[in-house]
Amino acid sequence: MNPTLPYTDAQTVTLAIIAVVLPFAAFLVNFLLLGKSKASGWVSTLAILASTVLAANVFFKVWNSPGIHTQQVWFTIGATKVQAGILLNNLSVLMLLLVSVIALPVHIYSTAYMKDDDGYSRYFRYLSLFCFSMLALVVVDNLILLYAFWELVGFSSYLLIGFWFTRESAIIANKKAFIINRIGDIGLLTAIIILYTQFNTFDIQQLFGDKGLIVNSIIANGEWTGALGSIPALWQYVAFGGVFLAVAAKSAQFPLHTWLPDAMEGPTSVSALIHAATMVAAGVFLLGRVYPMFNGTELTVLAVIGCFTAFMAATIALTQNDLKRILAYSTISQLGFMVMAMGVGAYSSSLFHLATHAFFKCLLFLVAGIVIHQVKHIKDDNNLDIDPQNILHMGGLRKKLPLTFIAAIIGALALVGLPLTSGYLSKDGILIQAFDWSDNKGGILKLIPYAALFTSWLTAFYVARLIVKVFFGEFRLQKMNPHIHIHMGDGGWQYKLPLVFLALCCLFPLFSLSPIFYEDAWLYKGFLQANFLARENMYHYIIPVLVNILSVVVIYFAYMIYVKRNTWSFPQTGMLFRISFNEWYIDSFYNRVIVRFVMWLSNALYWFDSKVVDGFVNLLEKIGIAIAGIAAWLDKHIVDGLLHLIADIVHGIGGFARRFQGGKIQYYLFSMLLVLITVFILKLIWT
């Protein structure tokens, strides 16, 4: 577009490219040179460290500037020149920085966390590949490249979920993750193809820019008219549907969320980076990239689905016992909040929440990793047959893992959204704007903000349950097996440093000088649309108060139930409990209905293929053989038979006549006499 960038911009672009490519270089070095060497961990970590520094550099240069866009021709197909390039604006540099800043502590943590694993270097290979794909995803400037890296992050996630590939559950989980993401991918591909047909370009800036093609296209009279022509308006909705599928798959929104809880089969550090903080946020990022293409109805769909997902996942998280699964559902729930925020027009709050969530969810997963690791050590040391991730075995760990406990508390408070944390700022923004939005909506849409509010109390409850069960009370494993040998601790600096760093990032000062008002956060301001009107109304005061007071009540209630055991406790048999515990039966529905139907269909078609289509060919063969048989019979008995008949007749006559010429005179005389007598007799009869 602008081949001659100013020198400083060109420099920034170069830095961004290096930041993106460094993890890939680490991947190559690990893959080609290092083999199984333990050095691979540090190669990857140094690469991501350098990426982080560069990304920060790029971030400060680009943030709140007009942005940089540079590209060059990648290939030409027909008359279309497909460009490849870099688009740096607020959204992409924020993501660039966020991904590398989250990835760095996870890398450091992983060097310790994975050190005893046989696949240590393989792990870092995959991790670097993921970082490369994710960083590239956020800076590329066209939809084809976006799609390419979109799928590559899915692929690296596939590799990492199935990291322990001899474990049956892991490989089933990664297959499921990839296939469900594939559904999203074909949605995205369809949307890209529709946009390409309509606008003849893949360029994100041209399509979704301020005065871009999308903004200037109109839907009227059932036609969607852009600069280059028009197609039926239906396809605008199909394109939205495609984007929605992509978002739902990657960001685990209903109905494509079921892969994420299973994805917890991967190493916990991977869950922290990919399945909590970065990759799953890619869907929300995509929404941010293509935001101008949605119309009112479509935004409402996003709001409803996001809100429903948030609520559903929160209810499921209430009853799960697997530490990572609870966190996974809480991730789904928080992603639901972000999607809902996009739907209600809280664009900047959504991205703000994306950023804050990345820190506190990553922190919570790293905490979970430490806890699971410690329990697993106990399990291995004492040959216990337990699930190290089950929170029912834990309890009272706050004394044994003090630093981990503090980190967990900070992360949990941020997740609940209590004041002084970053989560408070971002979540309140979403809730307030949801109420603002519902003011001029009618009917069932009025319920959306209330459902979101209710969900945030549910969040408070399940988070409190989690923390209380893990860190408070007494260590139930020890209670059940009093003789076991226990040795646990927070671990070395590779564990402690990431926790401290992330915990600090979960507090308000990183984002805003004011701990109370989300409008003051720099990140929030960075994404405000030009036409945004700040509205001051009572929601801005009521909602935070309502959320926090009730949250504190809920947390106290949970504490009473699970630690003191002196109040009412949940019935474990009710229908609601079963729905929640069985994850709303969504997965079993998919397995029993959809998977079974596809398998049935494929078997039926194979039967059709081998019996009918090929049967027809074989029938032709049989008919051919039968006709040939008939022809052979005809040939032998009729055609050849006639010939044989004639030959036989001739032969017979010959044989008969031959006797007349035997050379015996008596025969000659006899036959002459016979002829004469015959002649005379005939003559007598005649006359």
Binding site: W74, I77, A148, F155, G162, T166, R167, I171, F178, V617
Partner: protein, 534 residues
């Protein structure tokens, strides 16, 4: 000496050498064959590098724009009052053929390496192999219909014996099925060819001609002849040109193969030895696609445009039907055979769209599938050679036993299912983009076809990942127990040397599709322009 002629006849020269050598030297035959294919590869790389691009070298319907042309009178009979019979040895290439030619030469090298597994009757095998090599290269170069047909039929003979003599348990059934199926198509093609010959006159000499490029120009048709655009002749009450198109299409559709004419393919693949499977999937199927573009659409553009809907429909059906069938297989080779049906459906869909994106995507998909299916069948051969079993359910945990092998399997599977970064992705995406765009550009295909086609991409993920999960991951468990465990050694140097270049090519073409698209683009644009002109 013309380089295309060299390219075509190099293999047969070496084939003659093999025939003349005594059988006591049989160990050298595979090296001679490999050398022949390598020489051929060098020629084709030379051609690729010296192939010029630009609108002046587009080819398609301009004889003077073809490159590396050689034109010699071949059969020239004076028929008295009926004029002169003019059959030429006429070879030349344009953008459509050049990339397929390079792909063919490379696949042949791989097939030659895969022939190491052949142990019986080596002289016969390698002589037939090289004969086949000559025929397929000839098909891509021939611009005279008679010559084209000669090469086309010449492929059948070696293939019949290669499957029938060196194949698996049901080899005879498969060989005869394959032979008759293909022959069925080509016999009728012969009739259309003769009809075209009688309809077309060489504008320069005034004789009837088999020149394909002359057949593309409506002005060369004799007034009132059966295939003349203006005469509106009918055959059995149907427009003659539509009948001609359909007959040619069926002949090539059998090769592609298009559902429902595909059932020879799984049988032929399953029974064929690995090198023959590689040639079948890698090259033979592309001859179908190439024939549709060059012959069917080139000679009958009017019929092609009016029949585009049905072509597209068949393409979509092939994509989905092949994919569902692949999902139902338990024989690894059969699964890959059905996946070929599915992937070749994209080729047909792209061609049917008659858009630049679609046709470029289709050609790219042919090139890409040439390499990927070669890789897939080679990989099946690796495991089959070791334990003589291919049943997916009989293996588990191969990833632990054969880690390097599994890496290549994953590369081949993910490249085939269209992971970006590999060639199939760009090809399939643009075939679909072309199919979708078609409605807006030329109104030939409805929008939904592209959407249905994209479901094939989803299903391909399902069957490939299921196979990965079932066969390669999990704990080690083999039907053959410890005997298999010993037999299943990881890939050796020869196999790595084969697989690595294929994987790299798939990767390079995915990152730089311009390597193919750059060469074909002018021809594709010329073809689109030609179609619009009719």
């Amino acid at each position: 000496m013309n380089i295309l002629t060299l390219l075509i006849f190099t293999p047969i020269l070496f084939g003659l050498v093999i025939l003349l050598l005594p059988s006591s030297l049989r160990a050298s035959f595979k090296y001679i064959t490999l050398f022949a294919t390598l020489v051929q590869l060098c020629f084709s790389i030379y051609i690729y590098l010296h192939f010029q691009t630009g609108a002046a070298f587009a080819g398609i319907n301009h004889e003077d724009q073809f490159q590396f042309v050689q034109k010699l009178p071949w059969i020239s009979l004076d028929l008295g009052g009926m004029g002169k019979m003019q059959i030429e040895y006429f070879v030349g290439i344009d953008g459509i053929s050049v990339t397929l030619l390079v792909m063919t030469s490379l696949v042949m090298v791989i097939a030659a390496i895969a022939s190491w597994e052949i142990t019986s009757n080596l002289k016969g095998f390698f002589a037939l192999f090289l004969l086949l090599d000559m025929a397929v290269v000839g098909v891509f170069c021939a611009l005279d219909f008679f010559l084209f047909y000669t090469f086309y039929e010449l492929m059948l003979l070696p293939l019949y014996f290669l499957i029938g003599m060196w194949g698996g348990a049901r080899r005879e059934y498969a060989a005869i099925k394959f032979f008759l199926y293909t022959l069925f198509g080509s016999v009728f093609m012969l009739l259309v060819m003769v009809g075209l010959y009688l309809s077309v006159k060489d504008p320069a000499t005034g004789n009837h001609t088999f020149n394909i490029i002359h057949m593309m120009n409506p002005a060369n048709y004799i007034e009132g002849s059966v295939f003349s655009v203006l005469s509106n002749a009918t055959i059995l009450g149907m427009p003659a040109r539509a009948v001609g198109f359909v007959v040619l299409f069926i002949a090539f559709a059998i090769k592609v193969p298009v559902v429902p004419l595909h059932t020879w393919l799984p049988d032929a693949h399953v029974e064929a030895p690995t090198p023959v499977s590689i040639i079948l999937a890698g090259i033979l199927l592309k001859i179908g696609g190439y024939g549709i573009i060059r012959i069917c659409i080139g000679i009958f553009p009017d019929a092609a445009l009016s029949g585009a809907f049905w072509l597209g429909l068949l393409g979509v059906i092939s994509i989905l039907y092949g994919a569902f069938n692949a999902l139902a297989q338990r024989d690894l080779k059969r699964m890959i055979a059905y996946s070929s049906v599915s992937h070749m459906g994209f080729v047909l869909l792209g061609i049917a769209s008659n858009t630049a994106e679609g046709i470029s995507g289709a050609v790219l998909q042919m090139v890409s599938h040439g390499f990927l299916s070669t890789m897939l069948f080679f990989l099946v051969g690796v495991i089959y050679n070791r334990v003589h079993d291919r049943d997916i359910y009989n293996f588990r945990g191969l990833g632990t036993l054969m880690p390097r092998y599994t890496v290549y399997v994953m590369i081949a599977f993910f490249a085939s299912l269209g992971l970006p970064g590999f060639s199939a992705f760009v090809a399939e995406a643009f075939s679909l983009a072309g199919a979708f765009k078609s409605h807006s550009v030329n109104g030939l295909l409805p929008y939904w076809m592209a959407i249905c086609g994209s479901v094939g991409i989803l299903l391909s993920a399902a069957y490939f990942l299921w196979t990965l999960q079932r066969m390669f991951f999990g704990g080690v468990s083999l039907k053959g127990g410890d005997v298999w465990k010993v037999a299943l050694t990881d890939i050796n140097f020869r196999e790595t040397a084969t697989l690595l270049p294929l994987a790299l090519i798939a990767l390079i073409l995915g990152i730089m599709p311009s390597l193919v698209l750059g060469k074909i683009n002018d021809s594709v644009l010329a073809l689109i322009q030609f179609l619009q002109l009719k």
